[in-house]
Symmetry: C2
Subunit: 336 residues, 2 copies
């Protein structure tokens, strides 16, 4: 069997290609009997309108790109689950790109997407400190962006985040209220927006609590759990903190490991609180006090914003949606 296309299908039935299109697109100006004949043969021959030809003709793709650092982080995978669900309902398709936190990758992905392949982009950035010209170029192409979680303040685009500053502030105070005096902040490289904001919440809380912050209390971690293990171990040995606030759950998990090895008891010797979206937090030993982000909702809100823009090019949309995180207290910060 030769490759089927609209012309062959049309010829087979003695109709024109235009009529085949009418059948497939659900237009009303077509005899219902003709339509049935067309769809029946199409099914038999396994004909489907070629996606690329349709797109070329229509100049839109019903596809969006999602750019994130990585997938195997429960926060991002939840966000994408939420986002995909909405996209699916709206008939959109999702291309996934991972930056692995490399600026160069982000740059090349975004540049690539200038080719009109997607109608819009949802992203969580990894290059806060870099120049963002490559993103502004998208505007001239009418490819809208929506940011979530790791945003760029200097790019004019809608954003969805949680109340990171406030949450960090509260987390730090939470530790202090439970008696901690030496509170370490384990965060990510300061060029991530969230790294910075969370650190600021932490520092401001210390200030308000009249705890003089020390340089060695603020620790930059990486994406590599093994490296983090060394970093955290070194920090705990050097600083001997009684409280640890971590910007990501992996850092908390790794801190648990370090404490296990150093025979430091949580929460008696050291209290830990962490940002986390994972259900396992409550199953750790001891259960981990978390600031839980509404990851699914963040994803679907970001998608919602993008679709609003795409479906309503002129109307303005909300500029910055802030979803609240929740502090869930568990045993890792229990006062004894």
């Amino acid at each position: 069997m030769d490759k089927i296309n609209i012309k062959k299908l049309a010829k087979e039935l003695n109709v024109s290609p235009a009529t085949v299109t009418r059948a497939f697109r659900g237009y009303t100006d077509i005899n219902s009997e003709t339509k049935e004949r067309i769809l029946a043969l199409a099914k038999k021959l396994n004909y489907h309108p070629n996606y690329y030809a349709s797109n070329l003709r229509e100049m839109k793709s019903k596809t969006i790109a999602v750019i994130i650092p990585q997938l195997s982080d429960i926060f991002f995978s939840l966000a994408i689950d939420g986002l995909e669900k909405l996209a699916n309902q709206k008939g959109y398709h999702i291309l996934i790109y991972r930056t692995e936190n490399h600026y160069e990758k982000e740059l090349s992905i975004v540049n690539y997407l200038q080719n009109g392949r997607v109608d819009g982009i949802i992203m969580s950035g990894c290059a806060e400190t870099h120049d963002h010209d490559y993103l502004n170029k998208l505007e001239s192409r009418n490819i809208p962006i929506v940011f979530f979680d790791r945003i760029y303040e200097d790019v004019k685009a809608p954003k969805v985040t949680t109340n990171d500053y406030e949450s960090s502030f509260n987390a730090t105070r939470h530790l202090a209220e439970r008696g901690c005096k030496k509170i370490v902040y384990l965060g990510y490289k300061k060029n991530y927006s969230i790294g910075k904001v969370r650190m600021e919440g932490y520092l401001d809380a210390l200030k308000e609590l009249s705890i003089p912050a020390r340089k060695e209390w603020v620790v930059d971690c990486t994406d590599d759990n093994n490296k983090n293990y060394s970093i955290i171990k070194k920090t705990i040995k050097a600083v001997n903190p009684d409280g640890v606030f971590t910007a990501g759950e992996n850092l908390a998990f790794t801190s648990y490991k370090v404490c296990q090895e150093l025979q430091i008891s949580i929460p008696d010797d050291l209290k830990i609180i962490s940002f986390s979206s994972s259900e396992v937090a409550s199953l750790l030993n001891p259960p981990l006090t978390t600031i839980t982000q509404p990851a699914l909702e963040i994803g679907s809100k970001a998608a919602m914003l993008l679709f609003e823009i795409l479906e309503n090019k002129d109307l303005p949309v909300e500029d910055h949606i802030i979803l609240k995180s929740t502090l869930v207290q568990r045993e890792s910060t229990a006062a004894r």
Copy 2:
């Protein structure tokens, strides 16, 4: 500024569109000076060859679809991380589709993909017991599939799995060797291939150990942690097992929760072993004995197979790659 395209760019420089293509595709039959002029203006005008036009012309998309039940499962997100990495190296793009374990969704996704949108498909199925004609149709379109983890035996396509049967057998024996006599298997609906295979490993191990299996020891769970909570609680109360073997880590996590509430001590009253790819297993209370799957490798192997097929349409590729899982013993199955 009007929308830029190859014709306008060519006109601007007094060259033909063909020459512009030569510049962009790195062909050698072009004056290097001309090439530079073209690329320079292209950059200035932010011109990129239209993706859909190229694809229509070339009849290939350098895009693959990945169909999975969900993303927020560490196994799948790791697999996709591995897969994306390889795809990226090979210049392929990834479309993500979630079935949420609904056969209808899988069906409609696969049918949709008949439109030539992707060059190939990598999938983990959710409809073992259904008819798989929709997948066979892809063959006539020359769209290859590679399965991973949740495979369909009756579809002729390369597969990547772990040694599920053997691992389940060993896990069950592991429990028995540590004194368990009433071993419950918490699995997923039997129409998943892995659900079935893992159950068979469990049942055969019981047989070999001369432990008569009882119907109520084999429990079907769902994708909903709350529902599972009720199911597991009911089972533990009814059966009062001394060993639990779970087919997925969420089931183990949930079992921990149930034990917490019922004041059942792990591993003294009940030992637990589970399939899991998550790094948190070792941080649970107590640390969970796992059968750890090489999730990243599974993803990249599946991608590798697909690319081999795509780049070498005629040559046969390996039919079934089996990667070994590892039993990592921790405290949840300690003999006391």
